[in-house]
Amino acid sequence: MTRTITIDPVTRIEGHARITLQLDGRGHLADARFQVLEVRGFEQFCVGRPFTEMAGLTSRICGICPVSHQLAAARAGDKLLAVQPPDAAQRLRRLLNLAQILQSHALSFFYLSSPDWLLGWSSDPARRNIFGLMAADPELARGGIGLRQFGQQVIERLGGRRIHQAWAVPGGVRTPLAPETRDWILAQLPQARATMARVLDGYKRLLDGPLRYEQRSFGSFASLFMALVGPDGCWETLDGALRLVDSRAQVVASALSADDYGRFLGEVLEDWSVLKFPYYRPLGYPKGLYRVGPLARLNVCTAIGTPWADAELADFRGRGGTPASGGRIVTAAFAYHQARLVEIVACLEGIEALLQDPRILDRRVRAHASLNALEAVGVGEAPRGTLFHHYRVDDNGLLTAVNLIIATGQNNLAMNRTVAQIARACLPWPLPASAAIPEALLNRVEAGIRCYDPCLSCSTHAAGAMPLHIELRDASGALLCETVRD
């Protein structure tokens, strides 16, 4: 008899999903699935709208990374207008994106994931949240809250509001940067830096101790990694070209243009999830599994390009780099968490560098033109990974086709693989037919998904209640037992 264990929905992620573990007749793991079940359909209801509205429309897809959608839409709009935004506008967009990555990473690391390891895998699920974190480590909680607020305040001061702004537009941005806003942001940086120094110090102590196993083996498997890189191969969040590397640090493809994504990326829709499964086309499906996001960006880049972040990158590779890659590539999904911290440092240094250059204050921030192209792809690095907006328009600039390739979707194959890998490593196989699964083990499986910080609001679905639902099913699919926690 086989049975299925279902974790439904997965908790402390952005959206609603379910994990299903399918067992075979001997009680061993046969398959693992991260299932996303509700469609949102942004791609469809944007059709017919003017492309100039897309930055504002798509920034409403998600309350966590509205900036990423706004920027990808604006960059696609640049191409439809066939203009290059003024230099200051490009700097301001970059500043906005760094603030976005910073605040999103702070949310993921401090609010959603750190309760797992600070309170313990087997702690009461009701306490694994910001209140539990506050009780366990008030200094860390305070620092995390402050960092997220800083990122949001930068976004608010640039775009007029913390979420759902429409500041970036085709051709540039709506308003130039005021000197007093620059000065305000610069004045906040020392405290943010001090917070990050403390957080990194504390987190590395955990990696050296209780999290040593997770950092090396949690969701660890060979895969491709994809991200934007600058002309020199450095860490990049907005411009540049796409590069893929494998787990042995070999460059599989480089200088790829997002315009050609259909040539090297394919998408498959399985009948058991509405979240698409992108893959690297030359290797086919599912062998073309690749990962995006913080882990991928750090694996793909040659360097970050700022001193503190580069030192942290070296530490990151030193701890998790695999022997097969000469210590260059980190394959464990758990390392996404440390990668987020490294990227927060990179964002802080990047913000400072941008603001110290007086060119960012230039008043010329928008290029104007009429429609000059009928198809365009906008790309950028969202907090969770590479984001594509592909538009086709008619002669009036009305959208006739929209395809959004979201970071969470691109990690879909990897998340499934991670669930299977952790389940195999952590659950007691063969699983006794009637045994309840210990909370600590189920939480580890679930936490494997949280490593990727999936945002299902972006990829499919509006945010809703997120209880945890675990089902155990036999070979025929019959429900053996279930647990729900709200």
Binding site: R12, L112, N129, R148, P467
Partner: protein
Amino acid sequence: MASADLVIGIGNPLRGDDGIGALVAGQARSLAAGAHRGNLRVQVVQQLTPERVLDLQRADRVLFVDACCQAAAPCLQPLAVAQPGELALGLSHRLEPAQLLALTDLLSGRAPAATLLRLPVHVLDHGQGLSPMARRQLPQARRLLLQWMNGHA
């Protein structure tokens, strides 16, 4: 010295009557400006998230203004800090006002005196603007807002 007052309007103006919290908070901003009340800050949010703690830390009094499906008429309701059994977060990062007070208390050892202005709502569909029924509540909501601003609540 005047107390540091904070008004937080909660809701989504694109979901019909859910925007009433933001609208009434906007009135607080106008009233404060007209009365030269520099001690009053106004914020409008779609949901309460933990980083709002940093704003509450600086306040002596806070008024949350929110839509409420169960309310029959606008009313002011004193708010207590959420107790340990009320701190489950629905496994997300969105907080109720009492939970935000609890987080502030945990972080700084004190929470501001808090009041909730509950406003009855009827239509929460997509779209901007209030329903006629919700609009009829605005004069009373304004009276209660002034009452709180003048320290009578």
